[in-house]
């Protein structure tokens, strides 16, 4: 079982973030791997452990900071780490990012075929859950998204997908791109031995040239959308916090009535 997990560097959700020239400004000390990607790494490790053989690759795209994301995957137990970094990727939209990831995945797949690519369900830093779909389409592989359960047998992957109106069971032949939700499993904690080993483990560094991608097809020039303006949401005015001294419920009700909400 050979599985590649895509992981994303995201800023700490509690930290201060800002936009500069239409891009998210981050600093190296306030981020790590997107929390929901931990479920993807866990799903990959469990499948390899159940199969009794195999390897897990962690792949990320991004600036120098992004290496923290694959290092975290190594700490959790991934065997190999790949970091694609190139100035020309700056400003990429979801389609550009998918193209870069797909090219790197093909390079791994051509050396020795992969069975699965697993991703998290979304990035918690404001990006969307569009990437897994775009990635599967670029690779031309089966697409099994938002898996709450994942099993692999007889050259097929089967997932259970919780939609608002129904629970669906969907199957597709390998190789497939699967995105897993935070219901799929409980990610493990890294152990001390793996943390120490991850520090020294090599991370393969690729540029766009290494994976045969022309920068103009993925970066800001190719993006179909651009951020025009970004501003922090204004603090709400007239906020009030009162302590209940016996009439808190009346206060609450009257507030709603005055606002025309009841």
């Amino acid at each position: 079982m050979r599985i590649l997990v895509t992981v994303k560097f995201t800023p700490d959700l509690q930290s201060h973030r800002s936009f500069t020239d239409g891009s998210v400004t981050r600093t190296a000390d306030d981020g790590s791997m997107n929390e929901l990607d931990e479920n993807a790494v866990e799903a990959a490790l469990q499948l390899v452990e159940a199969a009794g053989e195999g390897e897990v690759y962690a792949l990320t795209v991004g600036g120098p900071d992004a290496v923290a994301a694959v290092r975290k995957a190594l700490q959790l137990g991934a065997n190999h780490a790949i970091h694609v970094s190139d100035e020309e990727i700056a400003g990429a939209d979801v389609f550009g990012t998918a193209k870069v990831l797909a090219a790197a995945i093909r390079k791994v797949h051509e050396e020795q075929p992969l069975d699965l690519v697993i991703t998290g369900m979304a990035a918690l830093d404001g990006l969307t859950s569009m990437l897994p779909t775009a990635l599967a389409a670029d690779l031309g592989w089966s697409q099994l998204t938002l898996a709450s359960e994942l099993t692999v047998a007889d050259g097929e992957a089967t997932i259970v997908r919780h939609m608002p109106d129904a629970h669906e069971t969907v199957a597709a032949p390998l190789p497939a791109v699967v995105s897993v939700t935070d219901e799929a499993n409980s990610p493990r904690y890294p152990n001390f031995k793996l943390i120490m080993a991850a520090r020294k483990a090599p991370v393969t560094q690729w540029s766009l040239a290494d994976i045969g991608v022309d920068g103009v097809t993925v970066g800001a020039i190719a993006a179909r959308t651009e951020v025009r303006d970004a501003s922090p949401r204004p603090e709400k005015a007239d906020r009030q916090v009162v302590t209940d001294t016996g009439d808190g419920g009346v206060t609450l009700a009257n507030f709603l009535i005055e606002k025309g909400l009841a």
Partner: protein
Amino acid sequence: MSGNTVAVLVEHRDGVVAQPTLENLTLARSLGEPVAVWLGEPPSDEASATLGAYGAGAVRVVELGAAGRLPKVRAAAVGAATPDAPVVLMTSTFLNKEVATLLALETGAGVVVDASGAELADGRVETEQTVFAATWNIRTRVVSERAIVALRPNTTQATEVDGAGAATVETVVFEAPEVPERLVAVSAVEREEGVPLAEARVVVSGGRGTNGDYALVRDLADVLGGAVGATRDATDEGWISHEHMVGQTGTTVTPALYVACGISGAVHHRGGMQASGTIVAVNIDPDAPIFEIADLGIVGDLNDVLPQAIATLQEHKGA
């Protein structure tokens, strides 16, 4: 671009058009000529009349069976119904985000999801969104000629067009593509009465502070005509089903009123509700982060505060 076809993908349940679709039709009127796209069994006369009343001149019907649940089949169906539409609007759901992505790969459209508004500027679509757990507002310009925008419910006030007739039903010829994915089983989730959480104008949610007893939360939701929400903690404890979870990985809600009962306000929960109109919080802990974003916070025991609030609201309703 004004005067162009603006396609609106219809969300419907049991043949009834969902409220967010009426909001999107209203918005579509400001962008061009709305046409509705209906997937599934053809609409009833009543549904066509509703779509017409909110501005759809036509409703294009693609008959789809269960295979329409597969994103690739669904996206192909929407594509077949909208070859002439430079703008496609839909409701922001997990499934529609996949549909938007696949459709964009076919048409070259730019995509914005989770938008709260859209307008035309210099011949291109520009959208409003909140990001980073709803702490920032951003304005995005779709650079490409075609645009697909998925909008959050409750972000446009739905209004009817005076004297509009029913939408004309047009059947779209469609052959579902061969796809590698196959549906093995579909088991329906029993739907609760009332408005679905994602579309509700009022949401009353309970967290750890309920200790698993949702009676007061439900009663308050009832008197306010709202839907019941919950935190990840509560659904993990099994106190209430996962469909009720409000948060970035559950349902994102943007109601006019959000009442948080016994909810501390963890960042993942806030990300799913922070863009709500008015936020009211009841929590026994004065340091709960939820108070930082509440318009009104009551520091107190919800077992004292909620019954009193419910009684006062019932009295008001009866008056």
